[in-house]
């Protein structure tokens, strides 16, 4: 079993922070297929469409028949650890701080051997489960886990390095008034978060949810994503203490373009949903990026809760969907800006949520508890993209298959 991580001591502000480093990030274009699968936590490899041979490392042509048709497919992630090494010397600065490092060759039941990270609880020459996850460089890597879960296995340094595990970490949930906040606070508390901060805009207005949040031990602080000054004050006080940020600020109204008569609601949607993300990132992003190597409670993830309509516009909420698309695009820029620090940006795409605004839409709808569960699951997996609820999953599948067909379906052209 893995030795459990102990709660970290209070930081001495006079000690120097560890400089953020990332593991080797260079990949060929073909290998980025592994990264794309890892962003959702899927274990996928190229399988030759002509002869069925499974390929690894990723290739541009089949090593059995020279076919260039090598689609990525989900692969049964089991195999056998054939041999291993413990690396005790390296010229790479990321791994040098983390030695010794266990690596080995696993023969996949589906065929090829793979060099992979080996979890500390894997016994020599044992059967293993493989997972494909993003490392701190944001690239897909394979990790071999024991066949069955072991006590405290999430505290293994290999796994901790690729997850965004909330345990022992301090979390900021941005919008206390969002109906999903109590479930988020509870789920993160249950996942072992050391401190939960909850932002509250216009905190002079009555707030019925305050007691419920304080009951789970959360600390409520003033925060308004449309107010740069409030964010600067927040950054001054809490900037160095936020390890995970969950941006659940949302402004939503029905309506598209010409069924509204002005741009006032649209401006508010963009103000909160897109520019709010930008202001938050400008205020808190740099401090989080500087603390990604800061021990057990290092800064690890930035989470945006987005509507799946960011992928394709839903005309009955056309203007809101546009603000979500803008937020998604900004999040891609932000992800690139975080890259050098290893700070993970995770977008949780949700279908219509079970609240007053989506009341006219038919089920299935996503409950706050379901979103909270997926946020924690995504943090544990260190994912970049999580699709929450059947509607979001379905929309993602259709988007991957053909975005133009999806657009036509969303605008009433499908059956």
């Amino acid at each position: 079993m893995t030795d459990p991580i102990q709660p970290p001591p209070k930081k001495n502000p006079l000690n120097r922070s560890w400089v953020s480093t990332i593991p080797p990030a260079a990949r060929s274009r073909a290998a980025l297929g592994l990264t794309a699968a890892a962003a959702e936590g899927r274990f996928m490899l190229q399988v030759c469409a002509d002869c069925g041979a499974t390929q690894y490392p990723p290739r541009d042509a089949c090593h059995k028949c020279l076919s260039i048709d090598l689609p990525w497919q989900d692969i049964i992630p089991t195999g056998e650890l054939l041999a291993e090494t413990t690396i005790r010397a390296t010229t790479d600065i990321y791994f040098r701080d983390r030695l010794p490092w266990r690596a080995g060759t696993v023969r996949l039941d589906a065929g090829p051997p793979m060099i992979c990270h080996i979890h500390g609880d894997v016994k020599p020459y044992a059967r293993v489960r493989l997972i494909n996850r993003l490392d701190r460089s944001g690239q897909g890597v394979i990790l071999a886990l024991p066949e069955k879960d072991t006590p405290n296995m999430a505290d293994d340094p290999h796994l901790r390095a690729i997850s965004s595990d909330p345990s022992h970490r301090r979390v900021l949930i941005v919008d206390g008034r969002n109906p999903n906040t109590p479930d988020f606070a509870k789920a993160l508390k249950d996942a072992g978060a050391a401190m939960i901060l909850i932002g509250l805009s216009e905190d002079w207005l009555p707030f019925q949810g305050r007691k419920a949040l304080e009951d789970v031990g959360a600390q409520i602080i003033p925060l308004d994503v449309t107010d740069t000054k409030s964010l600067q004050r927040l950054a001054g006080e809490f900037g160095g203490k936020i390890d995970i940020l969950i941006n659940n600020a949302r402004y939503i109204r029905p309506g598209g373009v010409i069924d509204r008569t002005d741009t006032n609601l649209a401006a508010r949607e963009l103000e909160v949903n897109a520019l709010g993300l930008m202001r938050l990132a400008q205020a808190l992003g740099p401090a989080m990026c500087s603390r990604t190597a800061d021990g057990t409670n290092s800064a690890v993830a930035w989470v945006n809760i987005l509507s799946a309509w960011a992928l394709a516009n839903e005309p009955s909420f056309g203007s809101f969907a546009a603000s979500q698309a803008a937020a998604l695009s900004l999040s891609q820029s932000l992800r690139a800006e975080f890259r050098a620090s290893g700070l993970r940006l995770m977008n949780v795409f949700v279908g219509p949520t079970d609240d007053e605004w989506h009341q006219p839409l038919p089920p299935p709808k996503v409950t706050p508890a379901a979103i909270a569960r997926d946020v924690v699951r995504g943090l544990h997996g260190g994912f970049e993209d999580v699709f929450c609820g059947d509607v979001a999953k379905d929309l993602n599948e259709r988007f991957r298959r053909n975005p133009k067909v999806l657009e036509r379906e969303m605008t009433g052209g499908g059956v």
Partner: protein, 391 residues
């Protein structure tokens, strides 16, 4: 694929040159290659401008290739080659040059390998070595070749029951040989106890299983036997030579190399068998790889190298002289020159020019090459049997 190979008859290997290695060098690959080339040309009495065949192997020439070297070094060959095969480059250079000389495409081919080693150049070489390494090996701890061969050594030990003492015997004997070679980087004796107490590097590999990256160069000339005799140069002849790439690709971890596919042909061509060899030069980036070659070249059964070597004395005065100049393990690894070190030393040996490391009466040698960890194993293998001229 059943046609018989033509013999290498009439081909002579002459003017073996080794430039003493340095741990670090502020000079370039061009500098090192020039020195070895000059050594061989001077020994043969050939002016650079008169050289009509040139073959180079190097990792640190960038942005130049062998083409840049011709202008840089003032060569005007009518036959030009570059061998990107690391540890197999010596034997492969020999094979190609021999055919060019036999066919009359060149009268004399200079085969040269050399690399420099700056303070940070090993790390830089690693990080741009191959696409598969970049994609699928380096992200897993960046242990470089040590990690790959750590896995391979673990698998070999697990499969065949080899022990660390089996590896240690090879390293200790080579150190004894190196102490006789004034050009070797390692200058202190190594005992089995010291070997076993070596600092762990990438389990089960420890310090003395690893080569020291350094700067250096090696060269020899290929010409006709007639030409060698005319110039009164001691020469070796080529009895046979093989190469093979990416063999046994479906083996999950490498326990054998491409030699196994062609070794019978090599011995048949040469007219000899393993017991006829006066010395053996294997590519020794790690001792497990030497053991793999001793098996695959036919000296013993697969998996039995440890047992086989246990009863042998691998020093230059022993009954199984192996890597007589100290090899890379004690001589250092000068990049692509590591693919030449055994061959150049063997040419000296069978022509009686090895000086302090001379194996008494040595006439015949087998030399094998192993190169290029493209991902999880060495891809290139090659071997040759040579014999002292006039035998």
């Amino acid at each position: 694929m059943s046609r018989a190979r033509q013999s290498y008859q009439g081909v002579a290997l002459v003017a073996p040159t080794s430039i003493p290695y340095q741990r670090y060098s502020i000079d370039t690959a061009h500098f090192w290659i020039a020195r070895a080339l000059k050594g061989s040309l001077d020994a043969a009495g050939i002016a650079p401008a008169d050289l009509d065949g040139f073959s180079a192997a190097s990792f640190s020439l960038f942005p130049d290739t062998v083409v840049g070297l011709t202008q840089h070094l003032g060569l005007s060959p009518r036959w030009l080659d570059q061998i990107p095969m690391g540890g197999a480059s010596g034997v492969v250079a020999l094979r190609r040059a021999a055919r060019a000389v036999q066919a009359g495409d060149a009268d004399v081919v200079a085969c040269v390998a050399g690399d420099t080693n700056h303070i940070d150049s090993f790390r830089q070489l690693l990080s741009s070595f191959s696409r598969f390494s970049q994609d699928a090996a380096y992200p897993y701890g960046f242990g470089g070749p040590n990690a790959v061969f750590g896995i391979l050594t673990d698998h070999y030990m697990q499969t065949y029951g080899a022990t660390r003492e089996d590896f240690g015997r090879i390293c200790v004997a080579q150190r004894t040989n190196a102490l006789k070679n004034p050009g070797a980087v390692m200058t202190k004796p190594l005992s089995m106890d010291q070997y076993l107490a070596g600092r762990p590097i990438s389990d089960p590999i420890t310090l003395f299983d690893c080569v020291m990256p350094c700067a250096g160069s090696e060269a020899f000339l290929v010409m006709t036997v007639k030409e060698a005799e005319k110039r009164q140069l001691p020469y070796a002849t080529v009895r046979g030579a093989i190469e093979r790439h990416n063999a046994h690709a479906d083996d999950p971890i490498q326990l054998r190399g491409g030699w196994t596919l062609d070794i019978d042909e090599l011995w048949q061509m040469s007219g000899y068998s393993p017991i006829d060899m006066d010395l053996v030069q294997t590519y020794d980036d790690y001792p497990v790889i030497s053991m793999m070659q001793i098996e695959d070249l036919g000296f013993c059964k697969k998996g039995h190298a440890g047992e086989f070597l246990c009863g042998k004395d691998m020093t230059v005065s022993g009954d199984f002289p192996h890597n007589t100049s100290g090899g890379q393990l004690s001589g250092g690894q000068a990049g692509a020159a590591g693919g030449f070190i055994g061959l150049v030393e063997a040419i000296r040996q069978v022509t009686g020019q090895a000086g302090p490391t001379q194996v008494k009466g040595a006439k015949r040698a087998v030399i094998s090459g192993f190169g290029m960890v493209n991902y999880d194993r060495g891809v290139c293998t090659a071997a040759t049997v040579i014999e002292g001229g006039g035998a």
